[in-house]
């Protein structure tokens, strides 16, 4: 904090200062040497892009770390924070320590500097000094330590000090190690290498900017210097570098090399193109003040295409338009002036000249934000937007999903949420290889591909519960599955393992079977006003890959559209998902959009209630044991009179008294006419026709 006081008068305790800046967009982290502040929230679950931490405000009497958002590189230093503090308190900001040097010289510096690539390096300043490298004085070393920087020697410390104070990263070369006493700012050439200060030998590529001497690279521009020209205790003459490097270039190089430094962090967010010479003079003055060296010759400044400052028109009325409250004109102007903006009065507001360090300010709204930050969000009123038009309808899928949830929770299923990515081995049974969508750089093998079905995740959750003493597990999930050809599909998945009936002392427990889950599917489709058909798969059909043949079905809408599948999970698939051996799991997956599309659009029309009594007849027939009940039913429906209201299978029996290849099927047929009471004669005639048809079609024998 004493460093901060070089620039602005602060008597308030660290905690209060942290609170002040927090309410202006600088999230305080740890405060050392002071009690924790009242507002240091942490641990957001990455709802938005992460910010970067920058140390600032080091001192001998307390240190506050602030997280600096990506748009504010100008505050990754003490001066930038001081500027915010001075604006917040309305106190003057001291000019940075005078850059007046003790030695003036009109002779040229003994160093040639050439920018060969002004796109990647628009400005490069340098100065030469004769030095005696030693230990920095304690006050300087302590400030560096407080900022988290290890003191090394006077020259390196001066460059670091200036970076932390003013935000301008600097570098120092051992001049006598530079061949030809020159610096060429150019792209690396094919095959060039550099041993950087951290001792790594790095291969350079043509899109990387290097600072080279006459023959070879001596530093990677804006990222790190080279070992060979490192300043050490034997160094007699140095060249200070103070430059502006293009942010995207530094970012790319730093990423490519996997090398993040304090310098690259500042350059890649955008340093101050106006700062290099001024910061260099500050460094020279500091070096001379601590007796570490003496500048030789003039400061070199290569700036081939000086950039004009950004100018923004700022209309006073837009403040109220965006904030919903007026901010006093003089207060708005004071805030901007203290933040370093130059204001010229205009008819409807101001013509604002943006200082070169505010790389984030390019348009009017940026200035509104500056005023809002310092006027205080807490001063804004709380109002409600006026509703000017009839609200638009919600996505109908939202309501459909809620209906599915109501039905399935009512049927005893708990809702699961599983990850959308799974192991590729787990996915392989659920879709052909060409349909599986892989992730380019997965976090791990467990998250390698997008799920082609909701079932693998659900089955894993069933296993998780089974291994934790849960006998009966009923789960469902509503979510998306992903396939290369179909893209993204919204489906509901179901899994049921364990008991089929409620466990109760009054009855023997029964294991879940196909008909339990078929009943749930029927109920679900019924709530969408659909009566689905259950159709046997062709051998090569998709569901056949993971369901037990003969205990699985494709679910079809009345018009033949496939809604999904239902059946018993094939034991080999179950085992690969870590299910206990011998656990039968029944699963189903339905396409929610297909379900909704097949739903009748028309309103329900009530049918009149029956006015005449019904007559029921039971019939038991012996049929081939492989004959599906559905075909028996179809035969009956085909020949029965219109008065047949309902066919209900009520028993299916094999065993004593039944030949081995036969089964006894019992059905209850209910007849009713809408206009009269049916006579026994009518029913007997209908039954005779039905029995005859069953004998003819299925060689059925009436019992």
């Amino acid at each position: 904090m004493s460093w901060l006081r070089d620039f602005v008068d602060v008597r308030e305790p660290a905690a209060e200062l942290a609170q002040l800046l927090s309410m202006r967009g600088f999230e305080p982290g740890a405060i050392e040497g002071a009690p924790p502040g009242p507002l240091a929230p942490e641990g957001r679950h990455g709802a938005r892009p992460r910010h970067d931490t920058a140390a600032s405000d080091p001192s001998d009497d307390g240190v506050i770390d602030f997280e600096i958002t990506a748009n504010r590189p100008d505050c990754m230093n003490v001066l930038g924070i001081a500027r915010e503090v001075s604006t917040a308190y309305g106190r003057p900001l001291a000019h940075p320590p005078a850059a007046a040097r003790q030695t003036e010289s009109s002779t040229a510096a003994p160093l040639a500097v050439t920018i060969e690539d002004p796109d990647l390096c628009p400005r490069y300043a340098a100065a030469v000094a004769e030095v005696t490298v030693g230990q920095s004085p304690a006050w300087l070393a302590n400030r560096l330590l407080a900022a988290g920087v290890r003191p090394i020697n006077t020259i390196v410390d001066v460059t670091n000090y200036v970076m932390i104070e003013l935000g301008q990263p600097m570098h120092a070369f051992d001049l006598d190690k530079l061949e030809g006493r020159e610096l060429r700012i150019r792209r690396a050439r094919g095959g060039e290498r550099l041993r950087t200060l951290d001792g790594e030998d790095r291969a350079l590529t043509a899109d990387m900017l290097v600072i080279a001497d006459a023959t070879r690279p001596q530093a990677i521009g804006g990222v790190m210097g080279g070992r060979e020209s490192e300043v050490g205790h034997a160094t007699r003459r140095i060249a200070f570098e103070s430059a502006y490097f293009t942010p995207s270039s530094v970012r790319r190089t730093s990423k490519r090399l996997g090398l993040k430094t304090e310098a690259s962090a500042r350059f890649e967010r955008g340093a101050d193109i106006g700062a290099p010479v001024w910061a260099l003079e500050r460094a020279c003055a500091l070096m001379e003040a601590i007796g570490a060296g003496r500048v030789v010759g003039e400061v070199i400044d290569r700036y081939p295409a000086p950039r004009p400052p950004t100018r923004v028109r700022f209309r006073e009325r837009v403040i109220e338009r965006h904030l919903g409250q007026r901010v006093d004109r003089t207060e708005a102007a004071r805030i901007l002036r203290q933040l370093g903006f130059t204001l010229e009065d205009a008819a409807d507001g101001w013509e604002v000249v943006v200082p070169s360090f505010r790389v984030d300010v390019t348009r009017e709204i940026d200035l509104v934000e500056e005023v809002a930050r310092h006027a205080g969000y807490d001063r804004l009123p709380a109002t409600f937007p006026v509703l000017r038009a009839v609200p638009r309808p919600s996505d109908p899928r939202i309501d459909a999903d809620r209906l599915v949830r109501r039905i399935l929770t009512g049927a005893g299923f708990a809702e699961a949420v599983t990850f959308a990515f799974i192991e590729s081995q787990a996915a392989s049974a659920f879709a052909p290889a060409g349909e599986i969508v892989a992730i380019a750089h997965p976090l791990s093998e467990k998250f390698a591909v997008l799920r082609p079905s909701l079932l693998p995740g659900l089955i894993e959750s069933v296993g998780y519960n089974r291994r934790r003493e849960q006998r009966t597990v009923r789960l469902f999930e509503i979510g998306r599955r992903f396939r290369a050809s179909a893209g993204e599909t919204r489906t509901v998945g179901l899994a049921w393992s364990g008991a089929g009936s409620a466990e109760h002392w009054s009855a023997k427990p029964r294991d879940v079977d196909f008909f339990d889950l078929k009943g749930v599917v029927d109920r679900l489709c019924g709530s969408f006003r659909l009566k689905p058909s259950f159709v046997r798969f062709p051998q090569d059909a998709e569901g056949a890959r993971y369901l037990v043949a003969g205990r699985s079905a494709r679910i079809e809408a009345p018009d033949g559209v496939v809604l999904g599948v239902v059946g018993q999970l094939a034991p080999p698939v179950a085992e690969t998902r870590d299910l206990p051996r011998g656990d039968d799991v029944f699963v189903a997956e339905l396409d929610l959009d297909a379900l909704a599309a097949a739903t009748p659009r028309a309103d329900v029309r009530v049918e009149p209630l029956p006015r005449f009594p019904s007559i029921a007849r039971d019939i038991s027939v012996l049929v081939d044991e492989r004959l599906p009940a559905g075909r028996v039913r179809a035969t009956i429906l085909a020949v029965a009179p219109a008065t047949l209201e309902r066919v209900q299978e009520f028993d299916r029996y094999r065993g004593r008294g039944i030949p081995d290849d036969k089964t006894s099927l019992s059905l209850r047929l209910t007849f009713r006419a809408t206009d009269r009471t049916l006579t026994d004669a009518e029913i007997e005639q209908a039954m005779a026709v039905i029995v005859f048809a069953l004998e003819r079609e299925h060689r059925a024998v009436r019992r």
Partner: protein, 360 residues
Amino acid sequence: MPHSVDPLRSAFADELQRVSSERELRALRDRYLGRKGGVVATLMKQIAAAPSGDRRLLGQLANEFKTDVERALAERQQALQDRLEPVEAVDITLPGRPIAQGRRHPLVILRDRLEDIFAELGYAVVEGPEIEDEYHNFEALNIAPDHPARDMQDTLYLNAPIDSRRGTAPPSERTRPQVDRAATLLRTHTSGMQIRYMEAHEPPIRIIAPGRVYRRDNLDLTHTPMFHQVEGLVVDESITMADLKGTLTHLLRELFGPDARALFRPTFFPYTEPSADVFVSCHACHGSGCPVCKRTGWLEILGCGMVHPAVFEAVGYDPERFGGFAFGIGIERLAMLKYGVDDIRMFYENDLRFLEQFPH
């Protein structure tokens, strides 16, 4: 003047004989033991008026009569009840037959709650694709090509682009062509729905867009590679930051109770300006500081801001004419705070012992 209670006794015995239901028994009790006009009460009154010589004996007889009536009534009552017990009584202490009842997932319970709160304010609830293109996820949201969020380190990209829009394209009411490209990534936020909805609709707009989002984060106590967000967007001619404050303060009071306070702190998002992090006063300590809020008194709940003019420009809205606000809420974080869950992974393990703690 009575000298004996015997006639009363025999009358009572006769009447008791004829009682065949509990209702009749109650009537009989009232007639004999009723405080006002009951046979016993009347008798006592008469005794009180009798010559003092007879009073003691008569009082004794009357009291005996009263006790006998009471006992007889009680016996009769029991007999009537016993007669009601059927021969095959059930053991009513055995457990009832359970009705299987599933549960909504806690994240869904909260999502539904958020949908309901905003539906009441006239917001439409919309959904969008989870696999997205870079245009909708980044570019149109003013997120520069070299922004760190677009890095392979943070975003999950697909191995090969796929067409995500099959059947999910929203109906458009605008003639302006919608930008449609093959999906190359898993959306990192629901903010892309701002773009998709504005491409297809004219202002005024009020929507929320709930859904799953993905980040390249490893699983730990507070991070997962997949989580849930609810995005909000309001666009109209005179939307202000004060409207944003009013709306979100209402939301926090709906979620955390009428005493909840909201704090708006400046921050940075590329697609809103000005932007704010929103905090709610800690519901555990009411702002005085506790372990839940890490002694700050505040809990960070969501991010929000005024729609950046560059976003309006991307969808062809005139930023001079329209203003808007947007917000994004992380449902997991909200659920952890509201339900006291300290390990985010519990939401994805689907342990029935966890899920069944949520009552509906």
